[in-house]
């Protein structure tokens, strides 16, 4: 099978997976009574008063498969329900919080990936030496620390103790300034870009300062996986015949490692970076909650606890968020597989 048909197949495979994702969320919805479910279709605050009409309108007493179709139709048209906790439709609330999360994730990923690969390679090359033990110990520590606890400790030391970094996304004054549409245009919603575009580079700097602690937290938690996969696949690559061959050619150790071993070791690392994406999304929820960094994760965690909703939670918000991360993760995995196809020539033949 050629590269092209592999790619087409991989992209087409996204469709059933997405259907599955919606089915699962829909299955979770079935735990609720029709009245509770009705709230998933409300898009404004007035709607809460005439639930019966909504039950009728969305056929919530109909057979399950019909209900799924109606629900899917609503979801596809962007109707994810009404969020009590943020007092606006779920989709709108998520779109509003998304750039904030994107800013955090985009800045953490390069640190995690590049750092993880470098450390993993160093650890494998100097197997059982000091640097290997140190790296592995660091990785295990990072892997064992609860995200929320690490965040709290960092906050206690650098905010409570040293007053270097503050929680939140920006200081209160800047926050007000940024949210005033007459003074500040949010082109992307990402402050590091919007700041300079509005002629206020200091906003970008302030945003960066607030990003330091969350980024450190996310990195320490997520880097362990990259290090361990890179280390073990590097060790495997180094034991292969082509490495002996490369040495027999008279290549320097640096060429042997950087050119021959590393490229092969990257393949399993790339296939596993889907897991990294999942870990990041999980981590984002906790990190944002700890640092009061008001992105998607913070919003969802607050929604899960919102009083007044079903069973003490803002169910539409939580389910909408789960659906959203599911879709995001499916796309992340798609990107991973496509990258993999380009790096490994063998896949093009399968």
């Amino acid at each position: 099978m050629g590269l092209r048909s592999y790619l087409i197949r991989r992209i087409l495979l996204v469709i059933p997976t997405l259907i599955g994702v919606t089915l699962l969320i829909f299955a979770v919805i079935q735990f609720f009574s029709p009245i509770d479910r009705a709230s998933l279709f409300i898009t404004d605050i007035k709607g809460t008063s005439d639930l019966d009409a909504i039950i009728a309108k969305y056929h919530l007493n109909d057979p399950v498969y019909l209900q799924y179709l109606y629900w899917l139709q609503a979801v596809l048209s962007g109707n994810l329900g009404w969020s009590y906790s943020s007092n606006m439709p779920v989709l709108k609330a998520m779109l509003k919080a998304f750039p904030t999360t994107a800013e955090l994730v985009l800045i953490s990923i390069p640190v995690i990936v590049l750092g993880g690969i470098k450390l993993g390679v160093a650890s494998a090359v100097h197997r059982d030496k000091l640097i290997d033990h140190a790296t592995r110990f660091l990785a295990i520590i990072g892997w064992s620390l609860p995200t929320f606890w690490l965040g709290l400790i960092l906050l206690a030391v650098f905010f409570g103790g040293l007053h270097w970094f503050a929680p939140g996304r920006l200081g209160t004054t800047s926050e007000d300034f940024v949210n005033n549409p007459t003074l500040f245009t949010q082109f992307t919603g990402i402050m590091m870009i919007d700041g300079p575009l509005n002629g206020r580079p200091d906003i970008a700097l302030e945003a960066l300062q607030h990003l330091v602690l969350p980024t450190i937290t996310l990195t320490i938690i997520s880097i362990a996986m990259i290090i361990r996969v890179m280390r073990s696949s590097m060790l495997e690559a180094l034991s292969k015949g082509y490495i002996t061959m490369a040495r027999a050619k008279g290549l320097t150790e640096k060429e042997v490692i950087n050119k021959h071993a590393q490229r092969n070791a990257l393949i399993p690392t790339i296939t596993l970076s889907g897991l990294l994406a999942a870990g990041m999304l999980n981590g984002v929820v906790i990190t944002e909650t700890v640092f009061q960094y008001k992105g998607l994760g913070y919003w969802a965690a607050k929604a899960a606890l919102a009083a007044g909703g079903t069973g003490g939670s803002d169910v539409p918000a939580v389910l909408g968020f789960a659906l959203f991360t599911g879709i995001l993760f499916v796309i992340a995995n798609l990107i991973v597989d496509i990258t993999y196809a380009y790096i490994d020539p063998r896949i093009r033949l399968e």
Partner: protein, 303 residues
């Protein structure tokens, strides 16, 4: 009788040889000794909990509290680790929290393993439509970031520690099933499995006698060492406030109580002490897991 003993002894021999090899590799590494020590320490605490912190109410897992007063109090003779928000005794909480942690880990790993071995065997051995369906189903669950799906499930099923357990099993089994299935597929293509079919063995016999014994041990060991990671997820859910109920002896919940007090270093004990307990507990499992992973990884074996 002597014959039986000899049979048993030599029956265990490859296993013993294997275990001895693993043990020697594990012991070589000082970090894994540390892991063992940590876990031994926690097992001891869990066993001795009723003596170290005698329960004061009908449910030993509910932390006793002196008053309803909000502000945490410092270390004192009556509260060796101080109290946290709402006057819950931290010492009592972390001791009984150890039991909670073990309970969560063992339950979730055990249940996920049973499900995954049953499904993985059928799926991997028979293949075809069943396999395709099962794998697509695991795909869907694996298409979500685990913690977020667990969060959604807990919200949907109603909060509480039992729900957290159930949610973690529901989220966790597909991953193990994939591993079990891959192992079954690998062993299935071995010549001795074909030879067993060639002498007329039934499917059940092939699976139970030939495939499982050659594939399952590493999976069980690795899954058991996952307990640390599972406790971490459960703690995260409790920290978010949708896991352990109010006043429950659970490390994650205790840390969530300290959230509002972190800006004042005076209250350091409220988040540091339960945090150290979770971190060391998980560290113990991970240190062991790391050592075993190296030993069990066929590509890195026997240098």
């Amino acid at each position: 009788m002597g014959q039986r003993l000899r049979e048993f002894k030599s029956g265990m021999e490859p296993t013993i040889h294997e275990l001895r090899f693993m043990w020697s590799r594990v012991v070589e590494n000082p970090l894994s000794i540390l892991g063992f020590a940590i876990l031994a320490f926690f097992v001891l605490i869990a066993v001795l909990a009723p003596m170290m912190a005698p329960p004061q109410g009908p449910d030993p897992y509910i932390i006793p509290r002196g008053s309803q007063f909000d502000e945490p109090s410092g270390i004192s003779a009556t509260h060796p680790f101080g109290t946290t928000e709402g006057q819950y005794d931290i010492y009592y909480g972390v001791i009984w929290g150890t039991r909670t942690a073990f309970r969560i880990g063992i339950w979730v790993v055990g249940a996920s393993l049973i499900i995954s071995i049953a499904i993985g065997c059928i799926s991997g051995y028979y293949g075809g439509v069943i396999d395709e369906l099962m794998m697509r189903f695991t795909d869907i669950i694996l298409a979500f970031p685990g913690l977020i799906l667990a969060m959604a499930l807990v919200v949907a099923l109603g909060r509480g520690l039992d729900t957290v357990l159930l949610a973690l099993v529901l989220v966790g089994w597909p991953g193990y099933t994939r591993v079990v299935r891959a192992e079954i597929l690998r062993v299935k293509s071995e010549d001795y499995v074909e030879a067993a079919k060639a002498v007329g063995c039934s499917d059940l016999r092939v699976i139970v006698r030939h495939i499982l014994p050659n594939s399952i041990y590493p999976i069980v060991i690795m899954a058991s060492l996952d307990i640390g990671a599972i406790v971490l997820s459960a703690a995260a859910l409790s920290f978010l406030g949708i896991g352990a109920p109010e006043g429950y002896a659970d490390w994650g919940y205790m840390i969530s109580l300290s959230q509002t007090w972190i800006t004042n270093l005076k209250y350091w004990h409220t988040f540091t002490i339960p945090g150290i307990f979770i971190a060391t507990f998980v560290l113990g499992w991970n240190l062991l897991g790391d050592a075993f992973r190296d030993v069990l990884d066929p590509t890195l074996r026997r240098r």
